[in-house]
């Protein structure tokens, strides 16, 4: 089995449109959540979200002329993040010819803005947006993102698209890692994207009663593990990473963020929306990752939690972490990126994987912000409000999705 490392990453999310901006705001504890501006949410019970501010659509179109006319934000976010990751890796386009491409995307396939307008007005093509696809296409094909990225750089070794909700981002990285371990390729670009910030997306999640409705204080609305938490906040974003076999990376003196040493995945088979309260699926996901990494649970130095800020998830995840890590769970930091970005759904696992890699390479654990009074049932060290120095080597990153799909990645400093 080959060793696999990360040699490039790109992030576009509510707290940054570049790796450096993302990391700076993440470690500063700066929230990217604010009032919804992408559409008129005044009639909605939830009017806050984590939006990517000032997305440069012209720049994306200049790099990807084929994307002209595409309005689906998740596709555009992905293109930007993918370009960042490949630029960061400094790989030649010739290297990508035999590279794998794994994309995680959001569950919905329709251009929800278009569908919302059509349903509400009864008119199919009458839109006033400036960038519209007027040929009546109601769908963003699931493989649209992979197709655009693949054709831009000539990825020929197979393209995989995954839509397993909040676990998608972690799963595509994990599946790409496995294929490189098995020598199916030397290089892979893996990442995920999502944007449900449209009336049907935000409205649908609000109906599930999983969103915080604290519209008067958006920056404090997502409070993972806090006793007063009221739910998560919907966000949008994308992150892509370049995976490379250690041999290939070393041969070209590539900069290495971290090594991926383990991946596990499981299914709760419990509920379409709620996690198994006993955390069984989450436990299985983490244990599978630890087994693949061939490390003892006590070797984990930090947990990048799924940490949504919903009442159910935070308790279930805490229970699961304690089951897997036992006493060592109390000795390590457990932090939530979502406290600042909101829940990026399909993209969350990839963005949080990027955070985990940077935790290792930059020796810093980001905080969980808005944590004032921990829930009595959440009694771990969640790194409240202030980042701290990280002197460990191993970070475990969890992603637990709607429908009970779970994924865990384990990263380690290259030894």
């Amino acid at each position: 089995m080959r060793r696999v490392v990360i040699t490039g990453l790109g992030v576009v999310c509510p707290i940054g449109k570049s790796k450096e901006e993302f990391w700076s705001n993440l470690t500063s504890g700066r929230s990217g959540i604010g009032p919804v501006t992408l559409f008129d949410a005044s009639a909605f019970p939830v009017r806050i979200a984590g939006e990517v501010k000032h997305l440069d659509l012209n720049s994306i179109e200049n790099t990807f002329p084929e994307s002209a006319g595409i309005r689906d934000r998740k596709v555009l976010l992905a293109l930007s993040a993918a370009e960042q990751a490949l630029t960061d890796s400094m790989l030649d386009e010739e290297d990508l010819k035999d590279a794998l491409l794994h994309c995680g995307v959001g569950l919905e396939v329709f251009e929800l803005d278009y569908l919302t307008h059509s349903i509400s007005t009864g008119k199919r093509n009458s839109l006033s947006f400036s960038r519209i696809n007027c040929d009546g296409l109601w769908q963003t094909p699931l493989d649209c993102t992979a197709g655009l990225i693949g054709r831009k750089w000539g990825f020929k070794a197979g393209r995989i698209t995954n839509c397993s909700a909040c676990a998608a981002g972690a799963q595509v990285i994990g599946e790409a890692w496995q294929m490189l371990c098995e020598s199916r390729a030397q290089i892979a670009l893996a990442g995920a994207t999502d944007s449900m910030l449209n009336p049907l997306g935000l409205g649908g999640f609000a109906l599930l009663k999983v969103l915080s409705d604290e519209n008067d204080r958006p920056a404090q609305a997502c409070r993972p593990f806090d006793a007063s938490r009221k739910g998560t906040v919907l966000g949008e974003g994308a992150a892509f990473v370049v995976l490379e076999t250690l041999e290939h990376a070393a041969a070209r003196n590539a900069g290495i963020y971290a090594e991926i040493i383990g991946y596990g995945s499981s299914m709760d088979a419990f509920s379409p929306t709620d996690p198994d309260s006993a955390g069984a699926g989450a436990v299985q996901s983490m244990r599978k990752a630890l087994n693949r990494a061939n490390i003892h649970p006590g070797s984990v130095d930090c947990v990048n939690a799924h940490g949504t800020g919903t009442v159910k998830n935070d308790i279930a995840e805490t229970v699961a972490i304690k089951q897997v890590l036992a006493a060592s769970a109390y000795d390590i930091p457990v932090h939530s990126v979502k406290s600042m970005t909101g829940h990026l759904i399909a993209a969350s696992g990839a963005v949080e994987a990027a955070a985990a890699m940077l935790t290792i390479s930059r020796n810093c654990v980001p905080p969980t912000i808005n944590l004032v009074r921990p829930d009595e049932q959440c009694d771990l060290d969640y790194v409240p409000n202030t980042a701290r120095v990280f002197s460990g080597d191993t970070v475990l990153s969890n992603s637990f999705g709607f429908g009970g799909q779970n994924a865990t990645l384990i990263f380690r400093r290259l030894l």
């Binding site: 491409l101 493989d143 197709g147 054709r151 990825f155 020929k156 070794a157 197979g158 393209r159 995989i160």
Partner: protein, 134 residues
Amino acid sequence: MLEEEKHAASRNRKPYARIIDYNLYSADFGSTSNLLSNAVDSIKAQPNPHHLISACNGSGVMLNMEKESLGSCGIIPLTTLQPKPATGDLFAAAAFVQVAVGAALYGKPRFKGVVLANCMGYGSEQGIFLLEAA
């Protein structure tokens, strides 16, 4: 259902077939002529397929292209089956039908040899599976 061979044996389950290898390949839309040969080329160390589950939908052009691509890799199947004229093009479900038909062949009396199940996708995605008797 895929199952690790020892696990199947431990519960006395007789497999339909064994998957020897697989490969995926992508190209720019329209560039289908090299897809199959490139996909097959990467598994050329494996046994030469004797039987082909063709991805063709009844088009003689596609069938000839498929044969030429395989021929360029030194593969000339003894027999060729085309499920799609009977099933229609099942898109996302098509590959499963291709592999299932290939696996089911091993249930026929005295059927021998390696089966190549070809799965050609819209947007120039290509997948191939090599099967043998379990």
